[in-house]
Subunit: 281 residues, 2 copies
């Protein structure tokens, strides 16, 4: 497996595999890889001849008071996991390689980026859309793979790709969870043992919501209220948002119709976790 | 020559020439072609195997009180001129092909897009950067050709390409002028006979400025004052801006050093014209 640190190195690798007529899959990540990332790599490997994983903790998608500095990093371990997964190249640039002095271009996706994490993390999706545009231009993948844990991110990227006529297919894959239901996240390492237990309220409240819907509850305000009540039953949980919005436009609604996204962002101590499920009427 | 109206048609054409290993040059235009555009096509033809000209009056780069509706259009004549110039394909999409319902992504280049036309036409360069990003993604050219009459646009696009890692070489070519000095522009058709004569003050004041510099004048405020005075000597001229800024960052300065851009935007009746020259210390 190749480890590329510069745009030039990864481009030269891509050019060589392209000249052999091979298809390329990209798995963009911020590293500290877990089984969620690995499921993306396995699917990429299944569907593309060559798989590139980018590992880049992207500063422009973090707010000034967020965890950019402390975000967990372990490139050596990540490279080992990627190699085991059959990845052909890891692209792990330094910040100055992606944002050299004078950098001043940003990509904004309006609409779908505005509620949920867009509201509670101003500038987050601007940073995501910008770095994803750069990565797509550098790697020029046929397909790119994203996890549904960042459900809104998937919607933003699909919008971005369609609006800017990017010639890449976006593949999104289900959330991978621990046996007890906790969605895998690189940020889970921040959790104390107590917070780790408390965080189970996320997947539990999502399951309950699906159950309430199955039992006939279609009133959005009522469903949100029940989820909020469930989460508040956990004293360590501090709600950032609990929202139920339409798919794919993420608009408010009064009554559940077709499919809707139930999305949560909740703090446990200093750790902000997100989780979601699709509710089907 | 092919005339493509849809993204799919032009992509299919590009894919076929790419599969033959040919290089592709793109000349993005808003149509109503003149010798300035044709000089870009000739250079593109010289440097690339296949040349695509896009003809699209891009609504997102016009302000609400600008001339989007009245901008001159003549696709049949343009297609004839492009064919004569040896162009291989014209891409002339409808607005809904480029901006379908739900479109919501924009590209912003900060810094270099802010003074000059960026200040007097808010949102203009956002529209330019967005449509150019789309055209580059649709055509995937090896090279793209722009005229120096829109000098700031060239700087914005070079910044865009570098920042977003677009794999395209930007080639910029000199302003083409009428025998009497008027810079070619599709907007020149708006001018009455009287305004057409008055508009010669633009190229005349640029020549005078170069002459003053050659004679030793390096004080920026003084040079601007002389240019403003010259333009004001023409009663039909209504100055939007007269600026002298550094290249390539378009920063203010007090004394001419190395190269600087002298850029003008002046109205003659309802017609706003731009012109520029590079002053060399």
């Amino acid at each position: 497996m190749r480890l590329c640190k510069t745009v030039e190195e990864v481009r030269s690798f891509i050019n060589s595999v392209r000249s052999e007529g091979k298809t390329v899959g990209l798995v963009p990540t911020m590293g500290y890889l877990h089984q969620g990332h690995l499921s993306l790599m396995h699917e990429a490997k299944r569907r593309c001849d060559v798989v590139v994983v980018s590992i880049f903790v992207n500063p422009t998608q973090f707010g000034p008071n967020e965890d950019y500095q402390t975000y967990p990093r372990d490139l050596q371990r990540d490279a080992g996991l990627a190699a085991e997964a059959g990845v052909d190249a890891v692209f792990a640039p330094e910040v100055a390689e992606m944002y050299p002095p004078g950098f001043s271009t940003f990509v904004d996706v309006a609409g779908v980026s505005e509620p949920l994490c867009g509201a509670s993390r101003p500038g987050h999706f601007r940073g995501v859309a910008t770095v994803v545009t750069k990565l797509f231009n550098i790697v020029r993948p046929d397909m790119a793979f994203f996890g549904q844990k960042d459900f809104q991110q998937v919607l933003v990227i699909k919008r971005l790709v369609e609006d800017l006529n990017m010639d890449v297919r976006i593949v999104d894959l289900p959330i991978v969870r621990e046996a007890d239901g906790l969605a895998l996240s690189s940020r889970n390492v921040y959790l104390s043992e107590e917070e780790r237990k408390a965080a189970l309220v996320l997947s539990r409240s999502l399951s309950l919501a699906r159950q309430w819907v199955a039992e006939g509850e279609k009133d959005i305000a009522r469903l949100k209220e029940l989820v909020v009540r469930e989460i508040r039953s956990e004293p360590l949980a501090d709600i950032d948002y609990v929202e139920i919005l339409s798919i794919p436009h993420l608009k408010q609604m009064d009554v559940l119709q077709d499919k809707a996204l139930l999305a949560l962002a909740v703090r446990f101590g200093k750790t902000r976790l997100i989780d979601n499920t699709v509710l089907e009427a």
